[in-house]
């Protein structure tokens, strides 16, 4: 795959969403490169989660455009957006507590996604191999038969990341992936993210500055639904506007 400078995976342009007149995201534009880890930071209520919601189709944009590999996402249904290669992790770990780790990953494996496809689904060697490989990546190889509800908080976060990885998305969106994790777990997660970026782009929302420094290629700072600053972590950290509204306190 050739990577040209203007060959963006994700192009967000003039994106606005208004909740009863309140513009949670206001004329927002940004572009994500192939293979890039982009982190969105900003104070609470800045609209970071809403941006992810808009991209994955959970919220309908009022105006603006979201192009993923040239395809307009704003008019697609949620599952169609997933099928084009966008995966999304929620802010609170969102896994199937009543199923095992294996089954959590198996359901996320992109085959048999229609009703009759699911009925005809066979747990064949390929599925088992993929599930085991993914479990290895997310440090859960020994817990495959464990009920997911029994995992620790950090492991649940990993499991949800694994559930996305097994879909092999081209764009991976993670909302606060290290929230509630121990320092050691954060480090492992940073390694994990750095390992999995090959051939895909990652969009991360995060508050933990150390973690952001560890993973970000570029950072977008949001404030009141708009882009406040954008660039490398060093540049953004020294931007007086950013210091004033976000990093200063």
């Amino acid at each position: 795959m050739s990577i040209k400078a203007n060959d963006f995976v994700l192009e967000v342009e003039g994106l606005t969403v208004s909740f009863d007149g309140f513009k949670a995201v206001n004329d927002l534009s940004f572009y994500v490169n192939e293979g890039e880890i982009r982190v969105i930071i900003g104070p609470n209520g800045a609209g970071k989660t809403t941006v992810l919601d808009l991209i994955c189709g959970r919220t309908q944009a009022t105006t603006g455009s979201i192009k993923f590999r040239g395809k307009e996402l704003t008019r697609m249904k949620e599952h169609e957006i997933v099928h084009t290669g966008v995966g999304r992790k929620f802010q609170n770990p969102s896994i199937y507590d009543d199923l095992t780790v294996f089954e959590n990953l198996e359901i996320s494996y992109p085959r048999g996604r229609s009703v009759f496809g699911a009925l005809a689904f066979k747990r064949d060697k390929e599925v088992i191999r993929e599930v085991e490989a993914t479990a290895e990546t997310i440090f859960l190889k020994d817990d495959l038969d464990k009920q997911a509800g029994l995992l620790s908080h950090g492991q649940k976060q990993w499991l949800e990341i694994g559930m996305l990885l097994i879909q092999k998305p081209d764009l991976l969106m993670l909302d606060e992936p290290v929230a509630g994790m121990s320092v050691a777990e954060r480090k492992k997660t940073a390694d994990l993210l750095n390992r999995i970026t090959e051939g895909r782009s990652v969009l991360v929302v995060e508050h933990d500055m150390q973690f952001v420094e560890d993973i970000a290629h570029r950072v977008t700072v949001m404030h009141q639904g708009k882009v406040l600053s954008e660039g490398s972590m060093t540049r953004v950290k020294n931007d007086p506007k950013v210091i004033e509204v976000y990093l200063g306190h």
Binding site: D98, L99, L119, F121, R123, I128, L150
Partner: protein, 414 residues
């Protein structure tokens, strides 16, 4: 890891469960009960079709329907229409002002069989209609609701309203439906007298075979990926949607399947009891069906059968002595079950009986020590298996048993 590959359709414990139920229904009950009582059991079993549908749609899929009587009733009415036309031949209705039409039509000054009754002259078409009409109805309701993402309590209320509307419609259109009395005085099926003892016996066994057919379908679903998606959807609908599934389609499917299964029960009711009336369509019967399902355990397909049998047996014995108290007793039973055993009789079995069953029941792969379970059981207020037992068994078991056990409980204490 080897074991995971063969996702078992019928693990040992389930097979034994099926066999025990078959033994009870097909051998023991026919041996110890006279035809009258057996016919009564057959009637109760027709409700268990509905309860079974609710296990799939409510227990697994998380879609509570308070209007399943709709599908039971529609299936039953389709069957009744065929039998009524057969019973209304010109010879036996010659005293009517228009001979050859159902008696209630004649009483309502209707002089010809309406066009939509015509297909019910054919048994084949009637049998197709028994399943197709309720399923189509369910399809329309569920597409309208689930594609618009109406769910939860709103869905339950709408199904209840629809059951009420159909009842009112049937009662109001007396000339076409037999009104509040329903379609009565059914006699023969292709000349075979369904009121005879012999017929009742045969119909009881036909009912059992159909019930086991439906149980096998349900077993297939719950052991299939579709069953796991239903569970996933029940707990985390958004996650399923953002894993690339069109969630509404799965809800539509399971709701239609539940309706189809209920409709078979309805038709068998008509055949065994000899009539069908609006009192099996409306709100009260629909809620009763939910209670049968809840008492049996809403996650247990076999529990649906036991729940229906037990509650109805209690109802019959109880209402013989205190008819006016039955509704209160039923309400108390429902609240009691939901509060004390959210997963019904099935959870009692899993906690108090299964651990004591001999080794051949568990197969060599399940090293559960009863002592350990006894020690732990009173400590956990939820009806889950103690965590130690679960985590122990996970290593040696295929993953099949773990989610099943875990499904029986709500919260894990860790």
């Amino acid at each position: 890891m080897q074991e995971r590959a063969k996702a078992l359709f019928m693990p040992r414990q389930d097979l034994i469960g099926f066999a025990v139920l078959a033994l009870i229904l097909i051998v023991i009950l026919p041996l110890i009960l006279d035809v009258f009582r057996l016919n009564l059991v057959g009637k109760y079993l027709t409700y268990s079709f509905v309860a079974l549908g609710l296990v799939l749609c409510w227990g697994y899929g998380g879609i509570l329907s308070l209007g399943q009587g709709l599908f039971f009733g529609l299936g039953g009415y389709c069957m009744a229409m065929f039998l009524k036309l057969e019973a209304s031949d010109p010879v036996s209705t010659k005293i009517q002002s228009t001979p050859g039409i159902p008696d209630f039509m004649d009483w309502n000054q209707i002089t010809a069989i309406p066009w939509w009754w015509q297909p019910f002259n054919s048994l084949t078409l009637s049998l197709i209609a028994v399943v197709l009409v309720p399923t189509l109805f369910a399809f329309i309701i569920s597409v309208a609701m689930f594609k618009r993402r109406v769910g939860g309590v709103y869905f339950a209320i709408i199904t209840q309203a629809l059951a009420a509307i159909l009842t009112i419609l049937i009662i109001g259109q007396q000339g076409y439906t037999g009104g509040v009395n329903g379609i009565t005085d059914l006699r023969t099926l292709l000349g075979w007298d369904i009121r005879s003892d012999n017929a009742k016996l045969v119909l009881y066994f036909v009912n059992c075979i159909l019930l086991f057919g439906c149980l096998l379908i349900a077993q297939f679903i719950r052991k299939n990926k579709l069953g796991r998606i239903l569970v996933a959807m029940r707990d985390r609908e958004e996650r399923v949607r953002f894993s690339g599934y069109d969630v509404a389609n799965f809800k539509i499917f399971v709701f239609c399947l539940a309706a189809a299964i209920s409709s078979v029960g309805g038709a068998m009711f008509t055949l065994q009891v000899g009539f069908m009336s609006p009192s099996f369509v409306g709100i009260v019967p629909s809620i009763e069906m939910v209670i049968f399902c809840a008492v049996g355990g809403r996650l247990s397909i076999l529990g649906a059968v036991y729940g229906s049998l037990l509650v109805n047996w209690a109802k019959t014995s109880f209402s013989e002595s205190f008819p006016e108290l039955w509704l209160f007793a039923m309400g108390a039973l429902f609240i009691g079950v939901v509060m004390a055993f959210p997963n019904g009789l099935a959870s009692l079995f899993l906690r108090y009986i299964e651990p004591y069953l001999p080794a051949w029941y568990h197969g060599k792969a399940k090293p559960v020590q009863p002592a350990e379970v006894v020690e732990k059981a009173p400590l956990t207020s939820t009806d889950t298996q103690p965590e130690t037992a679960t985590s122990k068994s996970t290593e040696k078991q295929s993953d099949e048993t773990v989610p099943v056990n875990s499904l029986e409980g709500g919260v894990y204490v860790d």
